[in-house]
């Protein structure tokens, strides 16, 4: 396939810049970029469900929290980062498999409400299961464990070291998601989004594919959560609350639901705007709320979708 240099060059520059972040910025900048990457992971998973499969989940924070707590619990017992992160992802994926199986029988508002209630069940569980989760105090002193592979041991206690681990994980996960979205599987998801009935009448068992999309979204939420635990070193039940589920939704909306890079740009803008607004005023929610309302009323393609339309490149097919 021919390489589109108008996309490839900015992409390469962007990735190069990401690698240079710890060289240019202090710990705070590094921390901020990591926040953007984690929200990116969370949001592209979420958007596979909404933008590509047409299902609006209000319970994604539940899977994020499962990933975060399981990773934290593993790290407190066994100091191996890979083990912790893998454990978090697997736990989130299994949870998504069970809850997804129950959820994908419904669609539309009923699906949204059921995922909301499942997410809040996880929240209540985390809040009340004090012996394991620490209740409302959460889990603290989560070690930023070293990366151990046979014969190698890389110390990640330094924030900038951990940054490179998160960066690599993010790049791989985003690349993988891009492959999925452009594959026959991705096309199948989009067909279900556009018309579930028609999809069934070309021979697609729609529930199975909805479940698969749900599990993939859960895995990505779990990955984001698992990577968060060693970053923050403290996690609290708030990460499971439904208002936390709104973050990937807002990021996807801001960037654009129907473009692959939409949720990524959205995540960067979400964290960026938040950082700037919080420095200037206390009223970050007000700004965010107004942004959301303006986008819904006038720019439903999001920032990226609108830009593509203005520059005459349709949001479909390419990106």
């Amino acid at each position: 396939m021919p390489i589109d240099w108008r996309i490839a060059i900015p992409l390469l520059l962007g990735v190069a810049a990401l690698f240079a972040v710890p060289l240019w910025f202090g710990n705070f900048g590094v921390y901020l970029v990591m926040q953007m990457m984690l929200l990116t992971l969370f949001a592209i998973g979420f958007n596979l469900l909404l933008g590509y499969t047409g299902l609006l989940s209000f319970g994604q924070a539940g899977f994020f929290a499962v990933g975060a707590y399981v990773c934290a619990l593993i790290l407190q017992q066994a100091p191996s980062l890979l083990l912790g992160v893998a454990g978090g992802i697997v736990a989130a994926g299994l949870t998504a498999l069970v809850l997804g199986y129950l959820s994908v029988k419904l669609t539309e508002i009923y699906f949204s409400m059921l995922t909301l209630s499942f997410g809040m069940m996880i929240y209540s569980l985390v809040w009340r299961w004090r012996e394991v989760t620490g209740g409302d105090d959460g889990l603290t002193d989560i070690p930023r464990a070293p990366l151990t592979l046979p014969g190698i041991r890389i110390d990640l206690s330094e924030l900038s070291h951990y940054y490179y681990f998160v960066l690599l994980a993010t790049l791989i996960a985003v690349w993988l998601m891009h492959r999925i979205v452009k594959s026959p599987l991705g096309l199948t998801f989009q067909a279900i989004r556009d018309s579930a009935v028609r999809a069934e009448f070309v021979g697609i068992p729609i529930r199975r594919f909805r479940l698969l999309a749900f599990v993939i979204a859960g895995l990505y939420a779990g990955l984001a959560g698992a990577l968060l635990a060693p970053l923050e070193r403290t996690i609290t039940p708030g990460y499971a609350h439904w208002t936390a589920s709104a973050e990937p939704i807002l990021a996807s909306l801001i960037g654009g639901l129907y473009v692959f890079a939409g949720p990524i740009i959205g995540a960067v803008l979400f964290i960026g705007i938040k950082e700037i607004v919080v420095r200037l005023t206390d009223h970050w929610m007000l700004v965010m709320g107004v942004v959301v309302i303006v986008i819904v009323l006038g720019f439903r393609g999001g920032v990226l979708g609108t830009l593509l339309r203005w520059t005459g490149r349709d949001a479909e097919g390419k990106s």
Partner: protein, 286 residues
């Protein structure tokens, strides 16, 4: 035994707040077909209005409650006229997101005006007493709330089932074009319906101020309760909302007493069970 009955009354009182909250949400969903995330924020706004009028300016409590409901109805009119009206035709995610955007806006506006602290007004003197019930003093105020809840229930039943106005609103919901050909001003009907829903939420919020502190998180806390109630009863079903409110109120009261560990958890279990087994709700007919 008496303990259980007493706790039942406590639960029933909570049910009535939930009912006032869920009734408005149900009416807005049933007629405008929008599930309004910011409905809890209107409840909160009602509480803040009442707190200011009664607790700060010292206006008579009843008048304060009434004015709060009216004030929030006006806020609702603005919301419907300038925002909701533009999203009736949009896909579900965009509708939900707009109303969620309003949650964020209203939460912060409240913080700007009243600050982030918990506010507690005095209980109105007229109702600052208790009667012995099941061997314990039961606040008169709670009895009053029970009466208001029942009254609102009867009122809504009359309005929507018995009056021309209510039938017109339901006809407009059934078929917007048909409503228009019958000569009704559908947009105006929708504005009134939404004002009415907002006023009900505000009534619940305003009447709640002697019972619980007023704070900016109230809207977000209440909207999820309202979702639980309306889903259990059946989205868009008024009688269902009443039953749902009683179920959730009782569940909360008894689980707090018997197994407090699961008090948060149980309502969601019931909500999920209803959705999985009977998505149209306990009283849904479809």
């Amino acid at each position: 035994m008496e303990n259980y009955l007493y706790q039942g009354l406590i639960g029933l009182t909570y049910s009535m707040y939930l009912w006032l909250l869920a009734a408005g949400l149900t009416i807005a969903f049933g007629i405008l077909n929008i599930l309004n995330f910011s409905h809890g924020s209107l409840f909160m706004l009602g509480a803040y209005f009442a707190f200011t009028l009664y607790g700060v300016f010292g206006i008579n409590f009843w008048l304060a409650v009434l004015l709060s409901a009216l004030g929030v109805a006006l806020v609702g009119a603005v919301m419907e006229r300038f925002l909701f009206r533009r999203i009736y035709q949009l896909e579900l995610p965009f509708q939900l997101l707009l109303t969620y955007g309003l949650v964020l806006v209203l939460d912060d506006i409240v913080k700007i005006i009243w600050g982030g602290a918990f506010l507690v007004p005095p209980i109105p003197p007229l109702l600052d007493g208790a009667v012995p019930l099941f061997g314990r003093p039961f606040p008169i105020y709670n009895l009053f709330i029970l009466a208001v809840g029942a009254l609102v229930g009867i009122l809504l039943w009359i309005v929507f089932d018995k009056t021309w106005w209510g039938r017109m609103a339901r006809a407009a919901a059934w078929n917007r074009e048909m409503g228009a050909t019958l000569g009704m001003n559908v947009p105006r009907v929708f504005t009134f319906v939404f004002m009415f829903a907002a006023a009900l939420a505000a009534l619940g919020g305003a009447l709640g101020i002697p019972m619980r502190p007023v704070s900016p998180g109230l809207g977000i806390a209440m909207i999820v309760q309202a979702f639980i109630v309306t889903v259990i009863g059946g989205l868009g079903n008024l009688r269902g909302a009443f039953v749902g409110a009683i179920v959730v109120g009782m569940l909360t009261a008894y689980s707090t007493m018997l197994f407090p560990l699961f008090e948060l958890f149980l309502p969601y279990v019931v909500m999920a069970a209803v959705l999985m087994l009977r998505p149209q709700g306990l009283l849904g007919g479809r």
